[in-house]
Symmetry: C2
Subunit: 396 residues, 2 copies
Amino acid sequence: MYTLIKKEGKARRGQFETVHGTFQTPCFMNVGTAAAIKGGISSLDLVNLKCQVELCNTYHLHLRPTDKVIKEMGGLHKFMNWDKPILTDSGGFQVFSLAKLRKIKEEGVYFNSHVDGRRIFMGPEESMQIQSNLGSTIAMAFDECVDNHMAQITPDMDEQTKNRIIRKAYEYSKNSCERTTRWLYRCREEMARLNALPDTINKHQLLFGINQGSVFEDLRLRHMEEIAKLDMDGYAVGGLAVGEPTEEMYRILDAVVPVMPEKKIRYLMGVGTPSNIIEAVARGIDLFDCVMPSRNARHATIFTWNGIMHATNKCYETDSRPLDPECDCPTCRNFSRAYIRHLFKADEQLAGRLAVAHNLYFYNTLMEKIRDAIDNDEFDSFRAKYSGLLASKLED
Amino acid sequence: MYTLIKKEGKARRGQFETVHGTFQTPCFMNVGTAAAIKGGISSLDLVNLKCQVELCNTYHLHLRPTDKVIKEMGGLHKFMNWDKPILTDSGGFQVFSLAKLRKIKEEGVYFNSHVDGRRIFMGPEESMQIQSNLGSTIAMAFDECVDNHMAQITPDMDEQTKNRIIRKAYEYSKNSCERTTRWLYRCREEMARLNALPDTINKHQLLFGINQGSVFEDLRLRHMEEIAKLDMDGYAVGGLAVGEPTEEMYRILDAVVPVMPEKKIRYLMGVGTPSNIIEAVARGIDLFDCVMPSRNARHATIFTWNGIMHATNKCYETDSRPLDPECDCPTCRNFSRAYIRHLFKADEQLAGRLAVAHNLYFYNTLMEKIRDAIDNDEFDSFRAKYSGLLASKLED
């Protein structure tokens, strides 16, 4: 259950209680796609990286090791040895981004596994069943994440073609939104049924609804109004950060967040850079997830409190400073830029692990600082100081 | 300095004092080739894995990041953040196994880097200089690790051809041994010079001599007698475990170990399986190193107290037991076979890390148990119980 503690402007300071403990918001969830953080970070490490919530992917776990295996093992918490909250996505996003030969029908989606090609069906009931088997703290509703059809528009296109694309995208998004609403009803009903079964792992599994509507404000607002009626445990904004310009994302947030229920947690899915997060908090978002800190780390791209650095740069060859002198993460407390640069150059797995640990700690500390700032009515100046700085390139 | 504490048969219980602390023997050194253990294990982890000594490779570090960089960073200890003993090999083995187009002369070896192909020269003085720059606790003498020419012999070969190969191998090994002895004198002299320089990182760097002589007992004995005269800080048996049958290795150990100085530590290079280690301890060896525990772990081959298991076997799909129920390593205390099998199947780096941690802990615990056994005059029964068992396939 979400409790709003205080506000500064639209930025919200809150907490969210679950059967697996309470987490403080704004919060960034650390992504462990296949029940593990990429780069060799274990659930034991996460505790030292200030992680509050781990996110796992329903689609990946359904395919491997399968949700049946995980249920037999007592659920994701036992399987990964992580006793704090876990959020699972619905599988929808991966079905629409990874799977092949997908066919969307009213009952759900038929698609081919990207692992072994076998034909799979997933609809709202299947997604709820899988997430119930995983036993996560928070399940996400099964939705359609619509492609950004507007990306087809090019500057040199004539008005008529442009308008045809926009009309088509709008029409598609409208129908998809309506179906996603119908799917949400089915998700809610199925989740209630599953939570009441005697052998369900987490009988208090929560369910968040997801707002869609692409870049069309009126669709977004209408859809948000529709799903707000269902009194879900939380609401997410989906279908953003899928290739549209950042300003478009902020425009949609400006429009849709104000109509999201004030008493419910608000989750912006798949976002983003430190700057994106600060800007979304400023617009009233509470919860985030993104593969960026771990993925960038594995490519030696490091977030610091003075901007972004590339750990393999020649200038760090004999640099005895930590990645970020302002950071007190396990990596920065123990290892130098010179050592980490060497590990990347020598293709040692330890490089990725140390860098991922740092970047996750950076993101989790960013959220901590954001919370402290809101607590102290200093978020506005925090935003002014860091929103641009954290996106800049570090001056060596 | 080595102190022999007690003996049971030929098995020796001792300790070795260095400027970086004392380690107990018999001891297995954990191999961090390029200043890092493969699989993402950090120097901080090693402390929890009962590692007493880390071994790093001179050849690899000379090429990358270069010993000059490491010297500028204050030596290997600071670079890796490891304050316990470090042994560096001489580079000789890699020059003879990895490098291309090598040419051996009296002054040393000319070869091409396996990284970028550039022409490099390494002789006794160069090896000492590099190891002095690395600042390791123990440096190894620069020797020639002779190929096992006897491997050319096939069962269907006529006696004359066989004898020609044996004569040639003998002749080559004899000349090589004599050169290795001359190189040892040069190593010792150069090390003394380097240790006396004002900007040397470890002015107490120790130097071990290496016995060679291939599979020829008389060459081994003569060479051992020659190098024993130099009163080195320790003595290694090199050039074994390079493809010869295990029984050949034991035969050489049976011959050469009795003539090694009783008051000096005895190091069997590049060995081996748990069984090999137990058998070599029984023959009077004190110190070991091998990539086997980490390399095997990365291929899901796990050492347990009941034999060897393959963590990816289907039978472990829902096995909630730790890799080894008798083990209390961080991996076994926290994660199940089912989880680790999944991580391997999903190609998650965490799989390798957890498995490497277990295997290193297993090896380090094996040495601890061997030491306890000798302390309690129970090594003979320990050997009888485990020498075969640890080489067996685990019954699932």
